[in-house]
């Protein structure tokens, strides 16, 4: 029986063609992921080389610690995992590297990469996209007429009479298609693992399981729709409309909604305040600035208030004020961003397309929160650099005494572990509900 089902399924040229098309799109997407990874690796190499060369050149050119640190940039790298190639997420929009001087941080850490906005808008054609958008289309194409074509050809009556169980017959037909698509998925994962030399780890497993469940959602949904025993045309219209609603309209509407609910004017406030906070100090009383600086860093109090018109101590105290005075808005901006993330996540729970997309990004560490993590780490990193160099600048330490070779780019090492339950439960529940619904439809199915 099964052999016949498989034969019947694979006999159609359209089926073979769509398989090949999806396979090709999948391979293209893996190539695009590979290009993304190699570009990132290339950039990291360049940043590392550039930092060494940049420090060497400036150390040779300046013998004053304060002036030298005006120029020196130190990089912090959030290296994408290999699996990021499968779901590039927000890593195209947001930078993965921060290069900062120890001056006002707020004026530096939001600097973006150079990007073609058209590419950003079009989005990455990564494997995540192929799984989220194209596989459901295949599922729709393979299942929409499973029952209706038999009805339309008049063969369903025969089956209902002759087969031991019409339900089993239908389930077997579906399972052939399910297995075929899961094989295609497995092939793509295999190509990705070999082509990108992906480590087989918890993240990859989570990615794969999420994909399997996501496709199960579509199978269950399509199956539920076809068990209403409507015509082929009705089914394909309904399923494709559902596809448009689930993968385009609803998520896009949620995105609009969240963006409108939480606008981020604080970003612009921070931008203006960090400038004014620092620059206005040039015209203000030196003593006041120093007092504020020492309130922030009491450990430096012994340096007192410099008498000269210009001193690096005062200069860096002024720069510090750029950060201190924009702190409130900078924090508010971070809160807003996190609110957006949380609200999106909560809404996504009930919609497998959105949930899976966010989940892919989480597992691949390419989500908005990973960018926020980079921003946070940059702050810690910047603060560490500041506290290292402040006393050396204030003492006007000898530049040559510092071991400059050890200032190579640093990496973010912190890793989130996979929260399996929160990740998979929403998908499992949705699939279960759809299975129950189809089950109850199935009971009525035998009657013609």
């Amino acid at each position: 029986m099964y052999a016949l089902f498989i034969k019947q399924f694979l006999r159609s040229k359209a089926v073979i063609l769509s398989f090949i098309l999806t396979l090709i799109m999948g391979i293209i997407s893996i190539l695009i992921g590979q290009q993304f990874l190699s570009r990132q690796e290339n950039i990291i190499r360049q940043v590392t080389a550039h930092q060494r060369e940049h420090i060497e050149r400036n150390v040779a050119a300046h013998d004053e610690m304060g002036l030298l640190l005006y120029y020196l940039r130190f990089s912090l790298i959030s290296q994408p995992d290999k699996i990021a190639a499968l779901s590039i997420g927000q890593r195209d929009v947001n930078p993965s590297i921060q290069s900062v001087t120890i001056r006002t941080l707020e004026g530096q850490r939001y600097d973006t990469d150079l990007n073609n906005p058209s590419n950003l808008q079009s989005g990455n054609l990564d494997l995540g996209f192929v799984i989220l958008y194209l596989f459901p289309l295949l599922i729709i194409a393979f299942t929409f007429n499973l029952l209706s074509e038999e009805q339309e050809a008049g063969t369903w009556r025969l089956i209902a009479v002759q087969a031991k169980s019409a339900q089993t017959y239908l389930l077997r037909k579906v399972s052939v298609r399910t297995i075929a698509l899961y094989i295609l998925l497995a092939v793509l994962f295999l190509i990705a693992i070999l082509g990108l030399s992906l480590p087989v780890n918890e993240a990859l497993l989570a990615f794969a399981i999420a994909s399997v469940l996501y496709l199960a959602f579509w199978f269950a949904f399509c199956f539920w729709v076809i068990t209403f025993k409507r015509s082929s045309s009705f089914n394909v219209l309904t399923l494709l409309s559902a596809w448009v609603v689930f993968t385009i309209l609803l998520p896009a509407a949620v995105n609009n909604f969240v963006a409108n609910l939480y606008p981020v004017p604080e970003s612009l406030a921070t931008m203006v305040e960090q400038r004014d906070g620092y620059h206005e100090k040039w015209d203000k009383d030196k003593g006041d600035t120093m007092e504020k600086f020492y309130a922030h860093y009491p450990q430096f109090k012994t340096y007192g208030v410099p008498e000269q018109t210009f001193s690096w101590l005062w200069y860096y105290a002024m720069q510090q004020m750029g950060d201190d005075e924009s702190l409130q808005h900078s924090r508010a901006m971070r809160d807003k961003i996190m609110q957006r993330e949380q609200v999106s996540r909560s809404i996504a729970m009930v919609m497998p397309t959105m949930h899976t997309q966010l989940l892919f990004n989480d597992v691949a560490r390419t989500s908005l929160s990973d960018y926020v993590q980079l921003l946070d780490s940059t702050q810690t990193f910047h603060e560490r650099m500041r506290l290292h160099f402040y006393p050396k600048i204030f003492d006007n330490a000898v530049v040559k005494d510092e071991d400059w070779k050890r200032f190579t780019p640093e990496y973010i090492t912190e890793r989130k572990s996979v929260n399996w339950l929160a990740m998979l439960l929403p998908l499992i529940i949705t699939v279960a509900i759809l299975c129950i619904l189809s089950g109850s439809n199935m009971r009525r199915i035998k009657s013609v």
């Binding site: 950039i43 947001n94 973006t112 590419n119 950003l120 509407a253 995105n255």
Partner: protein, 482 residues
């Protein structure tokens, strides 16, 4: 008499469509979506522009309130350029969410344009955004296909087609009539968008409602009407040549997928793949290297600046820079700014050229994909396309350059050449000068520039119209009744 026959057919088609409940369901959903898109567009436009204008003004006040100081301090104090949205961005978001909105303008440095909406967005942004334009570009074709896939094939299946033809109705009338029928149903979606957009335009303040924006609006209306017409013709054509309604539907859905989902995404990805662009670090390093090659203005022994000094001293017939009639370090900075800005500009132009090459594959597909054509025209006219963004970036850089050079010139003119001791008060000039610098006022591209950039898209839309009409005429001579 023929037009009346087509008219009758069209009217009958609409009547039939209204008999089914599906049409009402589709229309209600669409109205809700259009309403939501209009609200989103309006809200984003008003709140974003208000925020940006607010901070542009706040930054300006703080600029003007600076006390007397050294002009070079003011050059570093700098200014900001906030990008203002075009009123028509309410209709078509285009690239708006993916382009930076604010840039800090200071001497010696070209900062990145930051805070794009995308940088604050979650992974959901990948699914796109709902704008009225998006509904017309993506959802309208699907609805047109839904409404019209059976327009001819069902008549054939029912046998009514044969009856009509034997009664003397011409094929041409049937094809045109059906197309007009679908078109009028589509207008139930297109007209509300057109009306709402005009209404929203009128609601914006009078300064942004100009002849230019009215012309842009008219262009948008024409482009979408033509696009819808082409869609209707395609639907009827496919319905006619398909062997059954089911096949017609399948073909049309495949066309939709290919036209709207697969092709644009793939071509953009391929463009990016074939024409890799420089990363920021590569770009900055290249600019830095070229600037260093020209000379380092901070290095007193640099040959370029040494030569410059010697020649200046010779021209003014003096032995030291202190004797010059203008401030020499202001002069050197002006020279340095000029050189670095020119080098930056050269590299930026190269980069933009690479981006354009990346976009070119997608642009060319307008000839095989009317969706791409209408999308490009719509973005250009709504001031939300790639060119509009590049124009903003250029404008901001021009302003930055002029600001820096004006400050350098003020320094040359008013600051003494005498070096100050470590405890002397720094030289200053009057704060009256700050107000003399005009504020940054972004301008949108004019409509002819916008249209000029999309000439090929417009031609391809014309081509599609001509092609589909030609096919209808050809088919009306060759089509079969059974």
């Amino acid at each position: 008499m023929k037009t009346t026959v087509s008219f009758l057919i069209a009217r009958q088609f609409c009547k039939n469509a209204f008999r089914s409940g599906a049409l009402y369901a589709i229309m209600i959903v669409m109205m809700v979506m259009i309403g939501f898109a209009a609200y989103s567009g309006w809200k984003i436009y008003t709140s974003q522009n208000a925020t940006r204008q607010h901070y542009q003004q706040e930054a300006r006040e703080s600029w003007e309130n600076n006390p007397d100081k050294h002009p070079h301090r003011m050059a570093h104090f700098g200014s900001f350029a906030f990008r203002l949205k075009h009123p028509l961005s309410m209709f078509d978001f285009g690239l708006e969410s993916f382009t930076g909105n604010a840039v800090y303008l200071e001497a010696h440095r070209q900062n990145s344009v930051n805070f794009s909406e995308a940088s604050f967005s979650t992974g959901l942004l990948r699914f796109g955004e709902i704008s009225m334009a998006m509904l017309l570009q993506v959802v309208l074709p699907l609805i047109v296909f839904f409404l019209g896939f059976a327009s001819i094939s069902a008549e054939r299946e029912n046998g009514t087609l044969k009856v009509m033809l034997t009664q003397g109705v011409a094929w041409k009338d049937i094809l045109v009539g059906k197309s007009m029928g679908i078109f009028s149903l589509a207008m139930f979606m297109v007209v509300p968008v057109i009306v709402i957009t005009l209404f929203l335009l009128l609601l914006t303040d009078q300064t942004s409602f100009t002849t230019d924006s009215l012309l842009r609006y008219a262009g948008i209306v024409i482009a979408y009407l033509v696009f819808t017409l082409v869609l209707c013709f395609i639907t009827v054509l496919i319905s006619t040549v398909s062997t059954s309604s089911k096949n017609a539907l399948m073909t049309l859905l495949a066309v939709w997928l290919f036209m709207i989902v697969l092709l644009p995404k793939t071509t953009q990805a391929l463009g990016n793949y074939f024409y890799p662009s420089l990363s920021k670090i590569e770009f900055d390093t290249a600019v830095e290297l070229d600037v260093l090659k020209e000379g380092d203005s901070h290095n007193p022994d640099d040959p370029h600046y040494k030569n410059l000094r010697d020649s200046v001293l010779q021209v003014y017939k003096v032995d030291s820079v202190q004797q010059l009639p203008f401030n020499y370090s202001g002069f050197v900075m002006r020279e340095g700014e000029r050189i670095s800005a020119e080098i930056y500009q050269r590299h930026l132009e190269e980069l933009v050229y690479t981006y354009k090459k990346q976009n070119s594959i997608n642009k060319i597909t307008a000839w095989i994909n009317p969706y791409a054509a209408v999308r490009n025209i719509s973005m250009a006219l709504s001031g939300t396309d790639f060119e509009s963004y590049v124009a903003f970036q250029q404008e901001a850089e021009r302003y930055r350059y002029q600001l820096a050079q004006t400050m350098n010139e003020l320094q040359m003119k008013f600051i003494s050449n005498e070096k100050l001791g470590p405890n002397d008060k720094p030289y200053t000039i009057s704060h009256e000068h700050w107000k003399e610098i005009p504020d940054f006022r972004p301008q949108h591209l004019s409509i002819d520039t916008a249209l000029g950039n999309e000439l090929s898209s417009m031609l391809s839309l014309v081509f599609w119209t001509v092609l589909s009409i030609a096919l209808i005429i050809r088919l009306s001579k060759k089509a079969k009744a059974i």
